[in-house]
């Protein structure tokens, strides 16, 4: 029992500094979301439950608008799946790392929002810290601060006076920092993958606009990586690339 507790404490201690900036901004962002729902006449129970169960910021904001329009459950389902397409790619990226997570695994998958994925995907976890519990606390702390913010926002209403404009940039800052970290700690070949991840979405954003660029970006990247496979297939040297061409 005691030993197990020590493992969790250690993982929690490793997770807190990695998620602190996210938690702070999640709290305020979710609060603005709760405020928005409050001004539309919803009780705080709505933002509280929606933030806890949907747990993907973009879809929560979209759902506010859906709730004040005509009832159309099928369109809502389709929209949620389209907005969430990127999660398919997160899942493929985490297949190996979530192996052997046991009972924690369903929660880790369920709670994998953009920011949680970004941290869990890139964190260099010290050898003496349990990976599973680290992933677990990253997910839990992020979700808890998001739900707390949304709930308080729903209760407080419009009484907040602190000017938070620009605070949402913390998300961009997080992703940029992780990008720089990955860039510096990886070999040259992976820079090609990283650049593809910047250039393809940037071109698609210019061509298709902010509302419609994600699906084309993901599709083009998929094609690009399949074409680059002969060059990038041996990205990690710990796996022997035997019979590397063939069926792909």
């Amino acid at each position: 029992m005691r030993q197990k507790k020590g493992v969790k404490t250690k993982a929690l201690r490793a997770a807190v500094p990695k998620v602190l900036p996210i938690c702070i901004s999640f709290f305020f962002l979710a609060m603005s979301y709760g405020l928005l729902m409050g001004t539309r006449g919803f009780s705080f129970l709505w933002p509280m439950c929606m933030s806890a169960f949907i747990f993907t910021g973009s879809m929560e904001f979209v759902t506010v608008n859906l709730l004040v329009s005509a009832f159309n459950p099928l369109a809502t389902l389709m929209l949620a799946m389209m907005i969430g397409t990127r999660h398919l790619f997160y899942g493929i990226s985490m297949l190996g790392r979530f192996k052997g997570m046991g009972l924690r695994k369903p929660y880790l998958i369920y709670a994998m929002c953009d920011e949680t994925f970004a941290v869990n995907n890139s964190a260099r976890i010290p050898g003496n810290v349990d990976r599973g519990w680290f992933y677990f606390f990253v997910s839990l702390l992020n979700q808890a601060s998001w739900v707390l913010g949304a709930t308080i926002g729903g209760i407080v209403g419009g009484r907040l006076t602190f000017n938070t404009s620009g605070l949402d940039f913390v998300m961009t800052a997080l992703f940029v920092v992780i990008f720089v970290d990955q860039w510096m700690s990886s070999k040259r070949k992976s820079h090609m993958a990283a650049l593809t991840g910047i250039v393809v979405p940037a071109i698609c954003l210019a061509l298709f606009g902010a509302d419609d660029f994600m699906i084309p970006s993901l599709a083009v990247m998929l094609v690009m990586f399949l074409m680059l496979r002969p060059y990038l297939d041996d990205l990690k040297t710990d796996m022997q690339s035997d019979g590397r061409e063939g069926r792909a």
Partner: protein, 113 residues
Amino acid sequence: MMIMTTWQGIVTVLMAVLGTVITRFLPFLLFPESKQPPRVIEYLGKVLPYAMTGLLVVYSLKGVQPLSGSHGIPEAIAIAVIVLLHLWKRNMLLSIAGGTIVYMLLVQLVFAA
């Protein structure tokens, strides 16, 4: 104000939950631990982590309009600050907090509409 009934509202929220959950669980259902995933999926699992961070950077900047308003200048300055801070100290908290504070000062004081 809501024009649908409370139950219709709850169903709408549940549909949003279901759609999101499907996209999150699908890869793990298609490629369970007990089975070796196809080589091409393993390959994608190695290259996508690098690419997805870049995608998230672009995604978080999608609202920036280079041709109007502040022309994305505050974003560009703040990102430069973040990269330099991070190359210099490699302290995640410092880089994120520094860049965000610079950005907030820029949009609230310098580029205020």
